[in-house]
């Protein structure tokens, strides 16, 4: 079997680059199937010159045998695999072998355009014929021989200076292998004796021509990168022919999988070899090292491949598409993450800025405004700051100052009224047993207050029975009923008192509450002064007609009167209709501008 295999390799090398590619990979440990497959492929593709096969084979055997003799360095390398490994590492292009094949191929795709040009310009069979190959008995592999001919030298001179620098680095190598070089060129000349190689000179030249742009391009990058790209580009060229060939010779799924990945690898290995030959490297030394690394990579690639072995291999187009899709998904995810991070950062910055401005405003309010309230309260600066909202921690002080205390109430008054209420509640409890007692209007008010407290800002849950602010709200409202029995309690008051309690302590809230309700607007509504209420409605309606004539007309057409919606805003000072924070902002400005601002808020005009 081994004999057959080695023969087939020689044959393949003459006929088809693809076969050659296949051959390097299996090495010694390949099974019998491999040999069979190769034999078949030879029959398919390499029939063109069977007569010359034997001749070539023998020659190559001789050549490769003579190689170690001719090149001391090469011999050393071949005999000591550890040294070879070292060279593998030293050579930047070997990095390719430790990468997974999709990446490998991706590189090829990225740099695929020059390859396409090659494909377009050089017929494959010509190209393959032009490949100088030799069999090495040590590695049991077929190797590409460096071909040093006149035309090639000329082409090499054209390589830009950077490439020359690259070559300089390998000058030592070049010098030491110059002997083998001449011998190799002899070999290749021997090969050209074969009649099928008549066009060798021109085809090789054209092949080199085709590669030069790639090399030229890649020298701009580092040596590693240059070689990687070159080799992968070259491998792309080979892999395509392999796949088309493989499709005709598919026998077992497992082999396909194995062969596919390996071929990919090995093809790049071979192309690497080609690159080495162009750089005047010792062909045998690099080839032998390739065999080792190729074996490692092929077994590793099986593990890396996620595709189950019982499934047929993907077509190259499908692979390419899947890879692109995968890349797209990755890119999209990356983009999304970046965007989210950016947004979050922005939000945090905004929050910090807002907090910063609030802190600054608080300091200004505390140090500059509150101590000299009376003198600065009407200054433009204060009013501007006021417009932007009072920081919640100074709201308590500002509201009390802004509402003023025309009624001259003191916290002490609150406690007086509060104790009176408590007394009344006690006597009510006692008299409740006596059914004949006439219900006092205050009792009815307190009953109503109790009913409404838990239904004031119910979503906050703090005014519910047993809640933290239930008693304070009850006390403030009850104290007010006691203080102003004529006005008493009316639904809507609980909302106003609740907002005050959320900002002030009960005694302060009571004083503030009484003073707010003493304002003309509240007096009109809570006092059920229908004429005054009507005046407010009319003012609002006039403003609405003036500012939003279409809406006003529509409301009129639908018979939607202000007393159906505007009345609620006035009774609660927007605290029921608006969110608590916004309601507080409205209140800030109501205390600055007066009832004019309530109308402005009603119209949504800033």
């Amino acid at each position: 079997m081994f004999k057959l295999r080695s023969r087939s390799r020689a044959k393949a090398g003459d006929g088809d680059v693809a076969n050659k590619v296949q051959e390097v990979e299996p090495a010694e440990d390949a099974d019998e199937d491999l040999g069979l497959v190769m034999k078949i492929t030879i029959n398919n593709d390499a029939e063109d010159d069977s007569s010359s096969l034997v001749f070539k084979k023998t020659h190559r055997r001789q050549n490769s045998r003579s190689l170690p003799k001719m090149d001391a360095l090469g011999l050393q390398k071949e005999l000591q695999p550890s040294n070879e490994l070292k060279t593998t590492i030293d050579d930047p292009s070997k990095e390719e072998w430790f990468r997974t094949w999709p990446e490998n191929k991706k590189d090829g795709v990225v740099n695929g355009s020059p390859n396409n040009r090659i494909r377009a310009t050089i017929p494959l069979d010509q190209l393959l014929k032009a490949m100088p190959l030799a069999y090495s008995p040590v590695t049991k592999q077929l190797h590409v021989l460096p071909k040093v001919e006149q035309s090639e030298h000329e082409e090499l001179k054209k390589i830009p200076k950077m490439e020359e620098e690259h070559q300089k680095e390998e000058k030592d190598c070049l010098l030491s292998t110059s002997d083998s070089f001449s011998s190799l060129s002899n070999i290749s000349r021997e090969i050209t004796l074969n009649p099928s190689f008549d066009e060798d000179a021109c085809s090789t030249a054209s092949l080199r021509d085709a590669f030069l742009p790639i090399q030229h391009k890649n020298t701009a990058a580092t040596n590693d990168l240059a070689k990687n790209k070159q080799t992968s580009a070259f491998s792309n060229l080979f892999s395509k022919s392999i796949f088309s060939w493989k499709s005709s010779s598919k026998e077992s799924g497992e082999w396909k999988l194995f062969g596919k990945k390996c071929s990919n690898r090995v093809s790049s290995g071979l192309s690497l070899d080609e690159a080495c030959s162009m750089n005047s490297m010792s062909g045998s030394s690099s080839n032998s090292s390739l065999v080792f690394s190729g074996r490692e990579a092929s077994s590793g690639s099986l593990i890396l491949e996620a595709r189950p072995s019982n499934l047929p291999a993907k077509s190259p187009e499908e692979e390419e598409r899947h890879r692109q899709q995968y890349q797209q998904i990755l890119e999209a995810a990356k983009k999304k993450e970046l965007k989210e991070a950016k947004l979050k950062k922005k939000q945090i910055q905004e929050q910090l800025r807002a907090e910063d401005s609030v802190a600054k405003a608080t300091a200004i309010w505390k140090t500059d405004i509150l101590p000299k309230w009376e003198s600065v309260k009407n200054s433009k600066k204060v009013r501007d700051l006021w417009w932007h909202g009072i920081p919640s921690c100074v709201r308590c002080a500002v509201w009390q100052l802004a509402v003023t205390n025309k009624l001259n109430l003191t916290p002490q008054d609150y406690y007086t009224y509060h104790s009176r209420v408590q007394e009344r509640l006690l006597t009510e409890k006692m008299s409740s047993q006596d059914s004949n007692s006439v219900p006092c209007p205050m009792d009815a008010a307190i009953k109503q207050i109790k009913l409404d407290i838990s239904r004031t800002f119910p979503y906050l849950s703090i005014f519910k029975e047993g809640g933290p602010n239930y008693d304070s709200l009850l006390n403030v409202l009850a104290a007010y009923v006691c203080y102003e029995p004529d006005l008493g309690y009316m639904q809507g008051m609980s909302f106003i008192a609740a907002v005050l309690i959320l900002n002030l302590d009960p005694a302060e809230a009571f004083v503030c509450f009484a003073n707010i309700l003493n304002r003309p607007c509240q007096q009109a509504f809570f006092g059920m002064n229908e004429a005054a209420m009507k005046a407010y409605y009319n003012t609002y309606n006039d403003l609405l007609t003036e500012n939003m004539p279409q809406l006003s007309k529509h409301f009129a057409q639908e018979q939607l009167a202000p007393d159906m919606y505007f009345v609620q805003w006035m009774y609660t000072m927007f605290s029921n209709a608006l969110h608590y924070d916004i309601a507080c902002r409205v209140w800030d400005l109501y205390f600055r501008d007066g009832e004019e601002f309530l109308l402005r808020a009603a119209l949504g005009k800033t």
Binding site: D452, P458, M490, Q491, E530, A561, D563, T572
Partner: protein
């Protein structure tokens, strides 16, 4: 609003504060009990189309504030109501005692022909009951009212209360007892039925936001 209907009735929900008027409305519209309900200031609105005797009737419901002191404000809402749900709380006798006042207001301010259904709400709180079913039904009989006990919490009889009241109005229209064309009847024609008063019906439907 894409919904179509034969009639639109203006409905009132009246009664003392805290009897559950807003919760009744919410249960009727949303089929849910509103736990965190705040007390109504002025009036709030709701509307729903219900099938009544083979007709689609849109109920435009005005849920009014219950406090006695608000009456001067709520009085303006009564005008042109076709039906009313007069609500009391079965656990609070004072809300039952106030019914006569509410009824007088409804009949004088809305229309003497207003169809009123007495609703004893919070029927789920049986243990706290202060007003018996018999007592309330006697009051209803005396005042020519329909009567139902409901629970806005459990949803019991809520839809029935609104439907029953609407059905009574439809019956009155069909018997000729109620004239939808009379100004202030609280009844408008919908877009389903071409009628002799299609012009006014069309104007009634001109607004897409009309509740």
């Amino acid at each position: 609003m894409s919904e179509s209907y034969d009639y639109l009735f203006k409905f009132l929900v009246i009664g003392s504060a805290g009897t559950g008027k807003s919760c009744l409305l919410h249960q009727f519209i949303e089929s849910k009990f509103k736990e965190d309900s705040s007390h109504t200031i002025g009036v709030e609105f709701g509307s729903k189309v219900v099938p009544v005797s083979g007709k689609q009737v849109k109920l435009q419901i005005w849920d009014t504030a219950g406090q006695e002191r608000f009456k001067s404000v709520t009085r303006s809402y009564y005008r042109g109501a076709a039906g009313a749900l007069l609500v009391y709380d079965v656990t609070r006798r004072d809300s039952f005692n106030a019914l006569a006042n509410w009824l007088a207001d409804a009949r004088s301010l809305a229309s003497p022909n207003i169809v009123v259904l007495l609703v004893g709400n919070k029927s789920d709180l049986e243990s706290q009951r202060e007003v018996t079913f018999l007592e309330a039904s006697r009051f209803a009989q005396e005042n020519e009212l329909m009567f139902l006990e409901t629970s806005a919490k459990s949803g019991q009889n809520v839809v029935e209360a609104f439907s029953k009241c609407a059905k009574a109005i439809v019956t009155k229209i069909e018997s000729g007892e109620l004239d939808p064309d009379r100004i202030g009847s609280g009844i408008q024609y919908g877009n389903l039925k071409p009628t002799r008063n299609s012009a006014s019906a069309a104007t009634g439907r001109s607004c897409p936001c009309k509740v």
